[in-house]
Amino acid sequence: MSERAPILEVRNLSTSFKTDQGVVTAVDDVSFDLYAGETLGIVGESGCGKTVTSKSIMRLLPDHLTIYGPESRILFDDKNLAQIPEREMRDVRGARIAMIFQEPMTSLNPVFTIGWQLDEALKYHTDLDRAGRREKSIEMLRLVEIPNPEKRISEYPHQLSGGMRQRVMIAMALSCEPDVLIADEPTTALDVTIQAQILQLMGELKTRLDTAIMLITHDLGVVAQVCDRVLVMYAGRVIEEGTIRDIFHRPRHPYTRALLDSIPKSGKREHGKPLPTIPGIVPSLFELPPGCRFQERCALKEERCVDEEPRLEDHEGWQVRCHFPLEIGEVAEEVR
């Protein structure tokens, strides 16, 4: 995979917001690559900057409140998306990079039909005529396994269930055959059976259309199920990046380790044991400590962690931002 050129390169992305309390940096120096046909998971707690990262790539944040760092580069199609004018950005959105959202119940416009909303994206980005667009819309609805698409196309969002609406969102996002699909917690609002169906559908469509997927989630179970690589974020920073195997079997960062430990497990060995949790809360972005951002909650904190923020270092193919990364084979006892 590494021999292929990445389809999307994010380099040193920093996104700050102007707020009443001053400028706050929600995403700090984030870099990663996305390759065609792969699924990259971005995980982290609420407020760690995963949604802001995705919205920065799409430039969907409010212009007058958002500042991109001068070093920020979002390289896609030989262009830096962080700097191209809004007009050019519109040709990228929906056509080349599409996005689906967390809340299928509210993400569709309630007063327009499904067909109208599917038609809109096609109207902007394809040369199809009205009949052609309708045909394509029906085809897309069939692709996302919506029964009776000819009838559904003239229905309104409130006539569909949550899972159906998310399917419509996926159909809409994929209708112009984008190179990249950003899925921002696409299954969080759905119940587990529907969640599995949607994830399976996304997986199938990915191989079929060779789309790269950027999956943003806080659900490690979802990540394990569908992702090829994982990016772990904490308080606006990438703290660990690696393949799904590496992250789940050999986590290097104490935070990743602790996250994995706090997944409930079944079985006799676990019976009666309390579920491990990570003590404390994410630091406020206004009061970030000078050293490691995870120091307050880290079981392995040392003096160096307080004084100096670790750099994201490359350790034989995967990246960790920690002064004292866990060694391979070194197991949880240390952390616990």
């Binding site: 969907l60 519109r90 509210t106 993400s107 416009n109 007063v111 327009f112 994206a121």
Partner: protein, 339 residues
């Protein structure tokens, strides 16, 4: 859709019957005839007045008779005799058709209604249209530039505009736009006051009151509509539309406006009945013989038949506007139709 409208209409029939019942009962708590004739009236005159109005009949009979008048629209019809009567100059024939006003002798209730409704509407309807158009545009612009200079400027002027009393606008409007313009520049564009029927006279007599009420209403409306737009602009579907590659303009005028129409319609429709009644203040100051003034006059002069009819008609219009609101809802919001 049609069954929905029909259902709404059927539901409002008992409501209207109740309103009329209440209205008639309320107006009869104090004897209207005694109130009109005053203390010095003779017994014969009292009885004659009572009989001519049919107030001596049992209440139930009066109720159904009044309902009949309303349902058959008898009150508003132009009786054949009315024309001939005016030619003859006699009021005798008139009395046989239509209920006569007590204080304005020789005029029927229907006549008063017909004659006052046009001046009222010729001020309030254009005022509503102007206000609606201008304030929606300003609200959209304001929401578009939310938090930035144009938005702040527009909102400050809206608050300023609505903080000044209606009366101040009327008096200064009459003084500057009408009186001074006439005196200094000899431009007789706006009349200081008065009304004459006919489209040719409209601008002269009605434009100034229309402009004044537009300015007054604009402050409130703009702020309300802006709040609606701002709320809509934060919705998830807006981000979806942007992620699809929609232009900002299309998002504002198509995605957002159709959603914002729901609360806007509620507000506009709830003002509809008051439009027909007209603005009492404007009608008083500009001396325009509209419905608001007709109602006020009838109340002050104990003109029982006119008061009763005007209130009943007003209640009817109110109900119709409520139904219309629901119909418009159903047109704009697909979620309403099923429920």
């Amino acid at each position: 859709m049609w069954t929905y409208i029909l259902r709404r209409l059927l539901y409002s029939i008992p409501v209207y019957l109740g309103i009329v019942l209440l209205l008639m009962a309320c107006l009869r708590v104090n004897d209207p005839v005694a109130g009109f004739l005053g203390k010095g009236a003779s017994e014969e005159a009292y009885q004659a007045k009572k009989e001519s109005m049919g107030l001596d009949r049992p209440f139930v009979v009066q109720y159904f008779d009044f309902l009949r008048q309303l349902v058959t629209f008898e009150f508003i019809k132009v009786p054949d005799e009315e024309v001939t009567a005016s030619e003859d100059g006699g009021a005798a024939v008139l009395r046989s058709r239509g209920i006569e006003s007590w204080s304005q002798e020789g005029r029927t209730v229907g006549q008063i209604l017909r004659e006052s409704i046009i001046p009222s509407i010729s001020i309030t309807v254009p005022a509503l249209c102007f206000t609606l158009l201008i304030s929606i545009v300003i609200a959209l612009l304001s929401a578009y530039y939310r938090g930035r200079l144009p938005d702040k400027l527009m909102m400050v002027s809206a608050v300023l505009g609505m903080s000044i009393s209606f009366l101040v606008y009327i008096i200064f409007g009459q003084y500057w736009a009408a009186y001074l313009l006439n005196q200094k520049l000899e431009l007789e564009f706006f009349a200081v006051q008065g009304y004459e029927p006919g489209a040719a006279n409209w601008a002269h007599y009605c434009l100034l009151p229309v402009l004044i009420s537009t300015i007054v209403a604009m402050g409130y409306d703009t702020r309300f509509y802006r709040a609606v737009m701002v709320e809509e602009s934060g919705r998830d579907y807006i981000i979806t539309a942007r992620a699809k590659g929609s232009t900002k303009r299309k998002i504002m005028f198509v995605h957002m406006l159709k959603n914002a129409m729901i609360p806007i319609i509620t507000r506009v429709m709830s003002t509809l009945p008051f439009l027909v009644m007209g603005s009492i203040l404007l009608e008083m100051y500009f001396n325009i013989p509209g419905m608001g003034r007709a109602l006020l006059d009838s109340i002050f002069s104990n003109d029982f038949p006119v008061t009763q009819m005007l209130v009943a008609v007003f209640a009817g219009i109110f109900l119709v506007s409520v139904i219309l609101t629901d119909v418009f809802y159903a047109l704009v919001d697909p979620r309403v139709r099923l429920s």
